[in-house]
């Protein structure tokens, strides 16, 4: 009998601890599949952030480090420099990467550090219970912007791909959506490309996933995706911002 659905070898058997409808599991799986497909499981190492995906070190089936909040790109830098023959990635949320870890991500990207960064943007702090994130949309209500994000007071959401695209060194920057099946298939291609570039030692690769948080948005999973399509995608437009490998073959 042909096996058509299976758990990637790059994921452990530990059950995910994510809420129903959360997209972290999908993002984890895309990364794990790409690592499996490129035969990197024995030379891969990842860095888990602080946030909902803090336990990612239990879920990926190779050596993992758990980093302090926002510091994953620095930790990954230390790992890559110490073990240049390994392939290193970070997995980070929006609070981790775009607030407390802004310096680390900008400078890792600016050095062209040979790591991949997978950035999950759901416009909210999930683990701590739905506070405002640096990517929270204007007027969006969270537990710390209970009257809606007031852009006069606290500014606008940060578009990380656009920000990193101002730097010279990054090799590949793409924003993808996890909001529909076709989008997920497209996201898989981006993840595979990032992992491939990482394998080939091309340089810094960055994938942003536009995602959801049904629990803290107070919407069911289907409505969450609809809301995100209507509200997040116009502000966080999917697309390839940088691909130095394109046409360079």
């Amino acid at each position: 009998m042909e096996k058509i659905a299976y758990r990637p070898e790059s994921l452990t058997n530990t059950p995910f601890t994510y809420c129903p409808g959360c997209m972290h599991g999908v993002a984890h799986r895309l990364i794990a599949e790409a690592i499996d497909e490129q035969g990197l499981i024995n030379v891969m190492a990842g860095v888990a952030p602080v946030g909902c995906s803090v336990f990612a070190y239990k879920f990926f089936n190779f050596d993992m480090a758990q980093a302090a909040h926002g510091r994953a790109p620095a930790v990954a830098t230390g790992m890559k420099r110490a073990r240049p023959n390994m392939h290193v990635f970070t997995y980070q949320g929006d609070g981790d990467l775009a607030a407390i870890g802004t310096a680390e991500i900008v400078h890792a990207a600016n050095r062209g550090e040979h790591i991949s960064v997978f950035f999950v943007n759901n416009a909210i702090y999930g683990m701590t219970g739905g506070q405002m994130a640096p990517t929270t949309l204007p007027n969006m209500k969270t537990t710390t912007s209970p009257y809606g994000r007031d852009t006069d007071d606290i500014g606008f959401p940060i578009r990380v791909c656009e920000l990193l695209d101002t730097l010279v060194a990054p090799y590949y920057i793409e924003r993808v959506s996890l909001l529909s099946t076709p989008d997920i298939l497209k996201a898989k291609k981006a993840v595979s490309k990032a992992i491939q570039y990482n394998k080939e030692g091309r340089g810094f690769t960055f994938i942003e996933f536009v995602s959801t948080c049904p629990t803290n948005w107070g919407l069911d999973p289907v409505k969450s995706r609809e809301w995100a399509k209507e509200n997040m995608l116009p502000f966080f437009k999917p697309g390839i911002f940088r691909d130095k490998g394109e046409g360079a073959e």
Partner: protein, 361 residues
């Protein structure tokens, strides 16, 4: 090997490289700039990694990543920068990773100044970061000792899988003295040292190896699991306390009327004053803790001879090691303290005057 005249900052950098340090991450700060600059020059020559990080915070987290890979790694800074590293040091202690941290202390609090001080004693020996952990802290008092401590610090870090700090100051960093280096480790010896960490560190699976899944982590969300982890750390620290106390005795005898206690740069000034008083026929001894954590409590207590009327603590702060001396003395004799602060270093004449007053009391 011939002695070389070197600044402490350069001597510790050279000694670290000779001790197998091939990864160094740091951020510029005075008065340790010669250290980072020396590493920038020399690391490429040994195929090592020198990386000037975007911040002290990033530098210590790079150390976390590299230490998690089981490699000899170091960072250095001065007081304000060490405060920024405190978060990372706590994580490194929690995740039980070996690394070496150099603090070339300057005056504080806050931005303070850039002159030598000993104001970070509490921070270094009583924690510094959050949570229940200890650092092994070595306190040199000469450029030679500073350099010698590099290999000792790496060995201790490897042995106990714990961060080790060398607590120097701007005087030791900036001053030049003759140094003789220990033999240099070869690349093969460094590789061999790394093998002791294979059972837990991040490294590739070799062909034929059982596949491993190593987690470099300080998170234990289950209180009962974290409780056991902290108890295990505590047991490790108890072992370190038993094995790693180090001190120097200077002019200790049963005739001592005053027992001085001083560490690092301060102890050198006290020694000079003791020499002058000794020439006048006075009997004073000094205990110098070399490792300030674990603290040599018993050695201090034992050094209180039958005629000692007072224990006198001298530091370049407002009285921090003083607390540990009081713990050691257990109220058996009065403990006096005198210090200078703000980057001002006392002179032998000033210490001598204080000790002469003490004789008269």
């Amino acid at each position: 090997m011939a002695k070389i005249l070197m600044k402490g900052n350069e001597a510790i950098a050279e000694a670290a490289i000779r001790s197998g340090c091939r990864l160094y991450f740091a951020y510029p700060i005075t008065p340790q700039s010669e250290l980072i600059e020396y590493m920038a020059r020399m690391m490429p020559k040994v195929n090592g990694t020198f990386l000037q990080a975007e911040s002290e915070v990033s530098a210590i987290n790079m150390v976390y990543g590299a230490a998690g890979c089981g490699k000899r790694v170091m960072t250095s800074s001065s007081s304000p920068g060490i405060s920024l590293k405190a978060e990372g040091i706590s994580y490194i202690a929690g995740a039980q990773l070996p690394c070496v941290i150099i603090n070339v202390q300057r005056g504080g609090p806050g931005l303070g100044d850039i002159q030598p001080a000993q104001g970070d004693y509490f921070q270094a020996t009583k924690g510094g970061g959050h949570g229940d952990y200890r650092l092994i802290v070595l306190a040199p008092s000469s450029v030679q000792e500073f350099a010698d401590m590099a290999s000792e610090a790496f060995d201790l870090a490897d042995k106990y899988r714990t961060p080790v700090m060398i607590l120097a100051d701007g005087m030791l960093g900036q001053m030049m003295e003759p140094v003789e280096f220990k033999p240099t480790l070869t690349d093969e010896e460094i590789e061999k040292l790394g093998e002791q960490h294979t059972s837990w560190c991040i490294h590739p699976n070799q062909d034929g190896d059982l596949k491993h899944h190593h987690e470099i982590n300080s998170l234990e969300i289950d209180p009962l699991v974290l409780e056991q982890h902290v108890i295990n750390l505590y047991k490790k620290y108890a072992e370190i306390e038993k094995n790693e106390q180090r001190h120097e005795e200077y002019n200790i005898s049963d005739d001592n009327e005053i027992l001085c206690v001083a560490w690092g740069t301060a102890s050198r000034v006290v020694k000079s004053a003791i020499n002058e008083l000794k020439a006048q026929g006075k009997s004073i001894g000094m205990i110098r803790p070399i490792n300030v954590w674990p603290y040599p409590y018993e050695a201090v207590a034992k050094a209180i001879g039958p005629k000692v009327k007072k224990v006198y603590v001298f530091e370049l702060n407002t009285g921090q090691m003083l607390d540990d001396v009081k713990i050691a003395v257990e109220g058996k004799v009065p403990v006096k303290f005198w210090g200078k602060v703000g980057g001002v270093v006392f002179t032998p004449a000033e210490i001598k005057e204080k000790l002469e007053e003490c004789f008269k009391e």
